[in-house]
Every structure is written in structure tokens, then in C-alpha cells.
């Protein structure tokens, strides 16, 4: 294969990861933006989404597309509800103190991870792709499912943008994000908003998990790397900025794909982390975040 097609192949692979990464980072960014807390357990909600998908797809016999569709419907819902409960039972009682919350979410991280280890086991388990079609791209074949992943992520990102920009619920979220005290003084029940946002943030990550599992396999330790990359993405894009998150996810995801294919995956992570340092030095609020007084 020539360099051109090879580069295209690497970019497409990168785009698939960028799509899923932007969903995970979006959840993290939403939670930080509105609640001002860093959710270290975010990657575990992603992992939970993956192993639940495995369960659902094994539970449903017959056509793998059926199990996949069912997973796409119920897994984000279940993960979202679990996240809401962890907010209700733990975070709310800590009054969202930034430092204490970090420790608490580390605790949630281990609880979910060990729960997964005890029930799901230490093995990586594959989930069958809902449809197995290869598209012939002249130089190489590429799985149609991967295009579906990219397409689904775009749809979901668009929906999130639509909700944030055009609905009353979105307006309430933005107002809470900008000034939670004044939001309260205008009748917004911010603790309910916080629980919902924590649930929705985890559910968006779970959608990413449902989409990626047929490509990547489910494993109880799979939440660590996406969490690191999601942090990198939201730092570069600017916490709480939807546009910045998507652009940074594309940047990190695609360059990760290209560097991984041409050099090594480790080099890709090293460069991404280096980029964070540079961004923090020259634009500490992220590339797309205007400084607010």
C-alpha cells in the first residue's frame, strides 16, 4: 500500500476512536462544566457500559444486531441510573467540595471496578458486531460498522448540542453552570439538576462503550485509558466547552490513530500528554474557552 492510502486508513481508524473519545470526554466535560467537580470514576461508567453490553448481547439469542440495539437502548439508561444513585448517596452529602469529591470518585472507581472483576471476571470478552459488512475503499476494505460508530457519535453530539442550545432543560443547565447560586434564587432545583447531569454524563460515556465494544472487547480495566485521554481532551478543548471538546477529541483521536499506525501507540500517548503541558502553559483555560471574570 502506498503512503496516501495508508494515511487514509490510519486516519479512519483514528476517526473511530475520536468519535468514541468525544462522547466520553463530552460526558466528563458536561459534569465538570455544570457541577464543577472532577469525576475520576467516569472511565468506570464507560467500562460498566461495555460489560453490560456484553451481558445484554449474550442474553439475547439470534441476530447480534438485536442484542446490540437492545444494549444501545437499556445500557446507557442503567449506567445513568447507577451514576445518579452514586450522586444521591455520596456526592450530594459531600456538598460537591472539589477536593473531597475527587477522593470520593476514586472510591467509586474502585467499587465499580472490583464489582466488575467479581461478576464479569478478569477476561476480555468480545461482542459480535451487529452487522458484518466490509466496504471496499479501492485500496483496502473497511468495516461498515466502524462508519456506523462515527455516524452514531455525530448524531449523538448533535442531539446534545440541540438540547443544550435550544431547549428549556439546556437553558437551565447553562444557567446552573454559569451561576448556581443565582439559578437557585430563580427556582432552579440545582441538586436535582446535578443528579441528572451526573447521570446523563455517565450515560453518554456508556453509549460510547456500547458502540466500541464490538470492535474492542469488554474488560474490567478498560476504563483507565479513556479516562486519561478524556482528561487530555477536555483540558485542551476547555472544560465545559462542547465545541472545544469535539475539536480536541478529533485532534487527539486522529493523531493517535496516525501515530499509532506509523510509529507506536505509546508515542501517541506521550505526544498527547506533551500537548496538554503546552496548552496549559500558553492557554490555561483551553483552546476554546474564553476567560470568565
Amino acid at each position: 500500500m502506498d503512503l496516501g492510502p495508508y494515511l487514509l486508513f490510519a486516519s479512519l481508524e483514528g476517526l473511530v476512536h475520536a468519535a468514541v473519545l468525544s462522547l466520553i470526554a463530552l460526558g466528563l466535560s458536561l459534569v465538570f462544566g455544570v457541577m464543577r467537580i472532577v469525576n475520576v470514576a467516569h472511565g468506570e461508567f464507560f467500562m460498566l457500559g461495555a460489560i453490560l453490553t456484553w451481558w445484554v448481547s449474550n442474553f439475547v439469542m439470534g441476530n447480534p444486531a438485536l442484542g446490540f440495539l437492545l444494549a444501545l437502548l437499556i445500557v446507557p439508561l442503567v449506567v445513568g441510573i447507577i451514576a445518579m444513585f452514586s450522586d444521591l448517596l455520596i456526592l450530594r452529602h459531600l456538598k460537591y467540595d472539589p477536593e473531597v469529591t475527587i477522593i470520593a470518585t476514586i472510591g467509586i472507581l474502585y467499587i465499580i471496578q472490583q464489582f466488575a472483576l467479581m461478576t464479569f471476571g478478569p477476561d476480555a470478552r468480545p461482542v459480535e458486531q451487529p452487522f458484518n459488512i466490509r466496504l471496499d475503499l479501492y485500496w483496502f476494505g473497511f468495516s461498515a460498522y466502524k462508519f456506523f460508530v462515527i455516524f452514531s457519535a455525530i448524531i449523538l453530539l448533535f442531539c446534545v448540542w440541540l438540547v443544550m442550545a435550544k431547549t428549556k432543560f439546556g437553558l437551565i443547565l447553562r444557567a446552573t453552570q454559569l451561576d448556581s447560586e443565582i439559578a437557585q434564587a430563580f427556582g432552579i432545583p440545582i441538586s436535582t439538576v446535578y443528579s441528572l447531569v451526573f447521570g446523563v454524563g455517565a450515560a453518554i460515556a456508556a453509549v460510547g462503550a456500547v458502540l466500541i465494544v464490538p470492535i474492542q472487547q469488554a474488560h474490567y480495566l478498560m476504563g483507565g485509558e479513556p479516562l486519561l485521554l478524556a482528561f487530555i481532551v477536555v483540558i485542551i478543548g476547555g472544560l465545559g466547552s462542547l465545541k472545544g471538546t469535539v475539536v480536541a477529541a478529533m485532534l487527539i483521536g486522529i493523531s493517535d490513530g496516525i501515530i499509532s499506525v506509523f510509529f507506536s501507540p505509546n508515542l501517541a500517548k506521550i505526544l498527547a500528554t506533551l500537548l496538554v503541558v503546552v496548552v496549559l502553559l500558553i492557554r490555561p483555560n483551553g483552546l476554546f474557552r474564553t476567560i470568565r471574570i
Binding site: 437553558l171 447553562r174 444557567a175 454559569l178 443565582i182 437557585q184 432545583p189
Partner: protein, 233 residues
């Protein structure tokens, strides 16, 4: 309609208000006057339920406000114009008003009524509120609070940092609202800003009431001298 009785408020165990008591009747303008840090803003925040720890009681239309969650308080018909305006600066004028309307599920009629009071906001309805001038921002903060059709309005230093023409515009709005029967609790630092509108003045120092006077006593030189002395002007 508003009865504050022995209100004591704390910020992380530091006593800010010490057994403050006052009444506000319907359609009256009560002014809290005092220096920086005297506890004026804390009084308003306590009424809005935004102070974690309070003692004493706050009654509004014979309903207890102390102890209920903060987001229920505006639904009772209390509008709040906080110090420094505290607009949602990245939202448009219209979105800021929308937040006010949502509090008591008010609709287009309320919005039109409020906008007719402030035609300048109507012209800038789609502008990001952070790009408005100081006076326009203060108008918007007031308009946002009026979107809940309040029977009680809490105003925290509405004249702060405004040019004289804006101050008189805000003052006229206060008089207009008073005529409509809205009760107003007004916090100010400068005595000139309140004398034309106030029915009663309370001086707060170190979280307690040290002096109070009714409007008819303002003409009395000694009372006036007392007021000036307490505010240090």
C-alpha cells in the same frame, strides 16, 4: 407581609447577623443602610435561603421561609436582584428573562409587560448580556426578577456604579413598582439614593439594627443627622 424575627446568620461559624428583626408591609419600601460588611447582603441572602446556617424566623405572608429549600423561595413570589447584578453573562437578554419566567411558569404576557418597562432591553433582546452596558445590565437584573411577578422584591445596591441618569431611571422603576403594590426591601450604602423612595430606613451595623426611622421623620434635622452619622457620610 414579611416579618423577620431574631434572624441570626452564620458563614462557616462566623456570626454575620445578630438577632436582626424588622417588618415590611405590603406596598412599602424598607431600606437597609450600612457600611461595607455590615450584613445587608447577608440579610437578603438569608431571606432567599442562600445562607447555610440561620436561626430565628422569616415569615412571608404567614408562611415560614426559614428552613425550606432555596429554590422554593422565588416560587412564593420573591424576586431577587443581587449585588453586582449577577446576570448569566454568557446568555442572551432573552435567555436571562426566560430563566426568570421559568421560576413561576409565567408566559409571554409577563415578558411583554416587563419589556414595556425597559424598552432598551427589547431592542437588545438577542444580545449576549455580558456585552450590555452597566446600566443596561442593572435593568436586565431588575427585569429578570420582575419576570416572576414578585409581590416582594429584594434589591441589593441597584445604584452601585451607575451614572446619575441610570440611577434616576432605576429609582423611577422602584416608585412605579411600589405604586403597583410590590413591597421592596432595598439595600444601599449611600443615603441620597434612598431618601426619595424609602418609607422606613434601618441602619445595620455589625449585623444588628442600631437605628431606624420612618419617612416622615426624615425632615427632622436630628434624625437626618443621625442617619448620616451612622452611614459615615
Amino acid at each position: 407581609m414579611l416579618i423577620v424575627n431574631n434572624l441570626t446568620s452564620y458563614y462557616s461559624n462566623i456570626k454575620i447577623l445578630k438577632e436582626l428583626s424588622f417588618n415590611l408591609n405590603q406596598g412599602q419600601v424598607l431600606c437597609l443602610l450600612g457600611r461595607n460588611g455590615a450584613g445587608k447582603t447577608t440579610t437578603l441572602k438569608s431571606i432567599m435561603g442562600l445562607v447555610d446556617k440561620t436561626r430565628g424566623s422569616i415569615l412571608f405572608n404567614n408562611e415560614k421561609l426559614s428552613g425550606i429549600p432555596a429554590h422554593y423561595i422565588p416560587k412564593k413570589g420573591i424576586g431577587y436582584v443581587p449585588q453586582g447584578r449577577r446576570l448569566f453573562l454568557e446568555l442572551t437578554v432573552e435567555e436571562n428573562l426566560e430563566i426568570g419566567l421559568l421560576a413561576r411558569k409565567k408566559g409571554k404576557d409577563t415578558k411583554d409587560k416587563v419589556l414595556s418597562m425597559f424598552p432598551r432591553l427589547k431592542e437588545r433582546i438577542n444580545q449576549i448580556s455580558g456585552t450590555l452596558s452597566g446600566g443596561e445590565q442593572q435593568m436586565l437584573a431588575l427585569a429578570r426578577a420582575l419576570c416572576i411577578e414578585p409581590s416582594l422584591l429584594l434589591l441589593d445596591e441597584p445604584s452601585e456604579g451607575l451614572q446619575p441618569s441610570m440611577i434616576s431611571l432605576i429609582r423611577n422603576s422602584i416608585l412605579e413598582l411600589k405604586k403597583q403594590g410590590v413591597s421592596i426591601l432595598l439595600v444601599e450604602q449611600r443615603i441620597e439614593a434612598i431618601l426619595p423612595v424609602a418609607d422606613e430606613v434601618i441602619i445595620i451595623e455589625n449585623g444588628s439594627k442600631t437605628f431606624s426611622a420612618y419617612a416622615k421623620e426624615f425632615k427632622d434635622k436630628k434624625t437626618l443627622q443621625n442617619l448620616y452619622n451612622f452611614t459615615g457620610l
